[in-house]
């Protein structure tokens, strides 16, 4: 990042905060300020980061005009950054039948989660929503970057129609990435679901989606999902999916969850879930996994969740995975408690045994604690919120890992935490 861009983004931050505090919600401005301090060694090196984030929304319902500014100033690995995540204007026209967005905005599709510097137009007709977009794709921190100079495409989404007890919708898309060469993708998607129990033994819900890359003649992100409501409280799901994780950063749970892999993988999954009573749910799943790295094999999961009327959630999950050269057995424990109208806390624990070619026989014990608190002012919860998360993983043959995160945020004009992420 150039110094000029950094200074420009800091000036935007200054202007945004001043506007937010002086105008507040009365002028259609809402937003959130958040400061986060994080320390971890999970990327094989210990590092700390400090991040200040501003999200600012403007909305004028009468004129159909809205705008969003989202930027982050951070210090990480000795680097001093001020990154603009989003800055766009959005105008609704013709009773919201047409909408045009201009600037830098987020998009999520089979390419992953990315920002686009450009324009997006959406038209809503009686039975169809059409969207056109074009611009320069960018990278969002910790997510996979898109390597292209320009990206443009069109997407058609049908509004739900009812055919023989099923509510159905479909989408069709075309997308082209340009750099030295070009890459064209076609997206397909179809969903159907029914609440009518007389449809048994037909599935209660089916969805299919896939992307086809013309240049490599390859299918990617294929998903076929079915849900069968066997009895009132019994559900069977049979799914097939191929995917490549978009983010390189794994959460506490993900890094133990042996079905998460870096690289392409395909899995065929059958899962059965039944509610023992309205507070207790049992589930079991079997998977056939094929990985780009690590070969293929099977996984089995057995889990139980217990909820109490006092806001306590208790979950236990046992998982066994056997790939060609790899064997992983894990036991997860989660306790989540709503401690009051403004406090929530939880603890997660995991015991795992890994038998891998490179590592040998590694045993892990991991613990994570978290606390979310809407800070009280004058004995009432205020718009000020506080989060604390700490985790430690003890390994027998690998380096121990830890992560600590502390954040304090303030929501202006009723914008709630998480809403702006």
């Amino acid at each position: 990042m150039t110094t000029k861009a950094r200074e420009f983004n800091r000036a935007l931050y200054l202007t945004g905060v001043m506007l937010l505090i002086s105008a507040d919600a009365q002028a259609g401005l809402t937003g959130q300020l958040e400061a986060t301090l994080e320390s971890n060694n999970s990327q094989f090196d210990s590092e700390s980061s400090l991040e200040e984030r501003l999200d600012l929304f403007y909305q004028n319902v009468d004129d159909g005009l809205s705008a969003n500014l989202s930027l982050v100033m951070a210090q990480q690995s000795g680097n001093d950054e001020a990154e603009l995540y989003q800055l766009y204007l959005q105008q609704d026209m013709n009773d919201s039948a047409d909408q045009i967005s201009l600037g830098r905005f987020f998009r999520a599709d089979t390419l992953g989660y990315y920002s686009l510097d450009g324009v997006q137009y959406r038209h809503r007709a009686d039975k169809l929503i059409m969207s056109l977009y074009a611009g320069v794709p960018g990278r969002i921190e910790a997510f996979r970057s898109i390597d292209a100079d320009t990206l443009y495409g069109v997407n058609l989404q049908t509004l739900p129609v009812y055919i023989i007890d099923y509510e159905m919708d479909a989408n069709l898309g075309w997308q082209r990435l340009e750099q030295d060469s070009h890459e064209q993708r076609y997206h397909f998607g179809w969903r159907a679901n029914s609440d009518n129990e007389t449809n048994r033994p037909l599935p209660a819900a089916v969805s299919m989606s896939a992307s086809y890359v013309e240049e490599s003649s390859q299918w990617e992100a294929v998903q076929i999902k079915t849900r069968w409501d066997l009895e009132e409280d019994d559900t069977l799901r049979i799914d097939y999916e191929t995917y490549e994780p978009a983010s390189n950063e794994l959460s506490f749970r993900d890094q133990f969850y042996s079905l998460y892999a870096r690289g392409n993988q395909t899995q065929f999954k059958a899962a059965y879930q039944f509610d023992y009573d309205y507070q207790q749910t049992w589930s079991m799943a079997a998977r056939r996994v094929n990985r780009e790295y690590g070969g293929s094999g099977y996984a089995g999961v057995l889990a139980v969740e217990q909820r109490s009327s006092k806001g306590l959630l208790f979950a236990v999950k046992a998982e066994q995975l056997k790939l060609q050269s790899e064997r992983v057995a894990s036991l997860f424990l989660d306790v989540d408690k709503t401690l009051g109208p403004s406090v929530r806390g939880g603890v997660s624990g995991v015991i795992q045994q890994q038998q891998k070619q490179l590592v040998g026989d590694n045993r892990s014990l991991g613990i994570e604690l978290y606390l979310e608190h809407m800070v009280s002012v004058n004995a009432l919860p205020s718009d000020l919120h506080f989060n604390f998360t700490a985790s430690h993983i003890w390994n027998s043959r690998l380096e121990d890992e830890y992560r600590m995160l502390l954040s304090l945020g303030y929501s202006f004009g009723g914008a709630k935490q998480g809403m702006l992420q």
């Binding site: 800091r10 931050y13 200054l14 945004g16 905060v17 001043m18 506007l19 937010l20 505090i21 002086s22 507040d24 919600a25 300020l33 400061a35 301090l37 590092e47 700390s48 980061s49 400090l50 991040e51 200040e52 100033m73 951070a74 210090q75 990480q76 690995s77 000795g78 001093d80 001020a82 800070v375 002012v377 004058n378 009432l380 919860p381 205020s382 718009d383 000020l384 304090l408 303030y410 929501s411 004009g413 009723g414 709630k416």
Partner: protein, 74 residues
Amino acid sequence: MKQKSLLKHGEKLVPWLAGAGFAVSHIITSSNCTIPKQGRCSTCGGCVVGLAAIVAWAVHKKKHGNGIYDDQSA
């Protein structure tokens, strides 16, 4: 009369000054904090000012209304 008008202008300026103070303290903290760079605190106090400002603002807004839970206090 003149004093009243000055006071009114001053009241209008307060949120802008508060906003500028917030933002400047955040910019200084995010660019100069030594914890991510050197792993130790140089006790510059920038973060304390930034955090104190945000807490003070929360107390001020709660006292003067406009909070999202105001309906509970009624």
